[in-house]
Each structure stands twice: as structure tokens, then as C-alpha cells.
């Protein structure tokens, strides 16, 4: 279902037409789409019972497609991509986390002088955050990485390569701190 205006919104702009929000999903404001330029049929699809909280921004290029699952929390996250980003069910992403595909994250000598159109068009990225992933505050996830189911990313971690499922990863450079044993019935994996 598409809500063109959020009932509680203070920002005067409507939601973009190619955004889909599931039942009982809450978005703090259409201000989250201030830098949204996706021209895909569906630029952002959010499942049900998900909270998109204050300070979250979808900084999407024209080719971007972002999918967010059910029961997720995004507590002030910047999603910057011109490719595909997916976030699985139950994932929790804390404040000041940046999730960016490589074409945006490595702008060259200077972000101000880079040629964004060519740089962005040259890379077709797919960044995948699995189900039940927890990303701590101020972590940065860049490039076409995959974060496996149930993984935990520590605060301030720079994630530049894949994270195995059910591990805790932290640091810069990132390392695997330990693995997590899923509790009984935690996963059907």
C-alpha cells in the first residue's frame, strides 16, 4: 500500500510514488527521502512492523532498489546506493550507521571533485544484510558485501568484506571476535 503523506509528518513533501510500506510500519518523516532519486518501479520496499526512525536517510541514485524486511529497526541510518541493498527480517541497525555501495563509498581523491554519474554507473552492486543481523552504532558497511544471518557487527566497525553467519565481528580492520551458538530453535538454517 502506498501512503502519499504520513499522518504525523512535519515535512511538507509527500512520499515518493515508488515507495511501498508494509502494514504497521512506521517512518518518522518523508524527510528521509530528501535525497531519494530512485526511478525504479519500486525504489524502496519495506515489510511490516518495521520502524524507520529519526535521522534515517535513503540517499538513493536513479538505479537504486532497496528492500527491507519485517520487524526491522533503522535508528538513524544512511543508506547510500545506486545498486541493490537488501536487509532481512528482524535486523536492527543502530544510529549513525552508513550503508553504502562501493560506487559511492570510494569517490576518488575528493568527493567534491568526483564525477558521480560515471563512477556510479560503472558498478552494479548488490549489498546484502541477512536476517536477524544487528549492526552497532557508527559502523560503516561499504561495497558489495554480504552479512550473514544472525551476525553482530560491533560499534564503529568498518565492514569491507563478507561476514559469516552467527559471528560477532568488530574493529577496524574488522576481525571475527567470536561465533554465536544460536539458542534452541533460533534458526532453521
Amino acid at each position: 500500500m502506498t501512503a502519499s503523506r504520513l499522518e504525523h509528518d512535519w515535512f511538507s513533501h509527500p512520499l515518493p510514488e515508488n515507495v511501498r510500506l508494509g502494514e504497521r510500519t512506521w517512518v518518522y518523516s518523508s524527510y528521509a527521502f530528501r535525497h531519494y532519486r530512485s526511478r525504479r518501479a519500486i525504489g524502496l520496499r519495506v515489510g511490516s512492523h518495521t520502524g524507520i526512525y529519526q535521522g534515517t536517510f535513503f540517499d538513493l541514485g536513479p538505479e537504486a532498489e532497496v528492500e527491507i524486511g519485517n520487524y526491522c529497526s533503522l535508528v538513524g541510518v544512511i543508506v547510500a546506493t545506486n545498486g541493490r541493498v537488501s536487509i532481512g527480517d528482524y535486523s536492527f541497525i543502530a544510529h549513525e550507521v552508513v550503508i553504502a555501495d562501493t560506487s559511492w563509498a570510494t569517490p576518488g581523491p575528493s568527493a567534491a571533485t568526483a564525477k558521480p554519474s560515471s563512477a556510479r554507473a560503472s558498478v552494479a552492486n548488490s549489498l546484502e544484510i541477512g536476517r536477524n543481523v544487528w549492526i552497532g552504532t557508527q559502523a560503516t558497511v561499504v561495497g558489495g558485501v554480504r552479512i550473514g544471518e544472525g551476525a553482530i557487527i560491533g560499534a564503529g566497525t568498518l565492514v569491507t568484506h563478507d561476514v559469516p553467519p552467527f559471528t560477532i565481528c568488530a574493529g577496524n580492520p574488522m576481525r571475527i571476535v567470536r561465533t554465536i551458538s544460536p539458542g534452541k530453535g533460533a534458526s532453521t538454517r
Binding site: Y90, N132, T137, Q138, G156, F166, A170, G185, A186, S187
Partner: protein, 194 residues
Amino acid sequence: MGLDERDITGQWDYRSLPPNVRVGENCWLERRDSFARFRSEQTPGLILGDRVRIYTWTTFNVEPAGYVEVGDDSLLVGAIFMCAERIKIGRNVTISYHVTIADSDFHPTDPELRIRDAIANSPHGDRSQRPAIISRPVTIDDDAWIGIGAIILKGVHIGRGARIQAGAVVAHDVQAGTTVAGNPAIPIEGRQLE
């Protein structure tokens, strides 16, 4: 809806803070909203010493069971307190921009419990069903200096006069008088004062 400039220039009435907040002599608290997420039900829930200066980028996210104490002459530029139990800042401590100080991870690590947490925390969820969280108090001693963007995690004790460099992620105690940097933070110079 009008903006009252006094609310963002430190000229608001500090007596309008909750009764469990004690403000010392000659404090300067720039922005009223720094205390908007102060939900402590402790008595006291927050003590600010004398001559404490708190800039606009500071926020006190304090849970009902939380207690924060800040010593005399400390300067909080952009301290983001995430407090479930106790955070204690000594005297003459300097805390820079975007510094997160958290005495809890606020979520469980067990994957099964995290799914329960996600459901209880969802926009229409029942927060009373959230699993219990672990907290361990944070203590920052006198004369410490915390650089831009550092993150101080639960259970950490930062010794007197220690320096935490910009961007450091501090998960373990820091000895008095030492300088640490990096993620995870490790000592780079200095020796103990005591």
C-alpha cells in the same frame, strides 16, 4: 509553533528540569532538548557538578533505572549518553563531538532473544516483552580527554588523565595517563601516573 531562542542558547530555566536532576553552581546547559530523552526514575537521576558546560550536541538518553553523574568543571561538547544503569564522569573531563558512552549494548546477543526483542520493539510491539539486557557501569576519571567520535562501551573504566584519541572504540579499561587509539583501542604512548 515558535522557536524560543532561549531554549538553544543556554538561557532557559534549568529549574524546569525534572526534580531528580541536580544542577551545580554556574553551569551552562546550551540546549533544553539535550534532556528530552532523560527518563531516569532514580533519585537523583542526574547530578551535574559546579561549572559544568554542556553544548548543544550532548544528549542524555537515560533509562528509568539509569543514573549519570558529571563532576565539577567538566566540558561536554557532544557526549551521547546511553545509560541503563550508571555512568560517572569525574572532574575537569573533556568530551568532544559525537562521543557515544554506553553502559549497555541495549539488545541481547543470542539470536533467538534478538528476534523476540525485534518483535517487542516494533512500532506496535509490546515493549514489556523485551528480553532483559545486561548493563555494566562506565566510569571516566578526572582530567580525562575523549576525542571526536570515540565510542566508550559498557564496563569501561578510564583512568585519570587518560586520552582517548578520535575514533577510538574503547571496550577495555584504560590506565591513568595513557593514550589509546584505534578500533579496538590500544595504548599508543604514555605511562601510568600512579
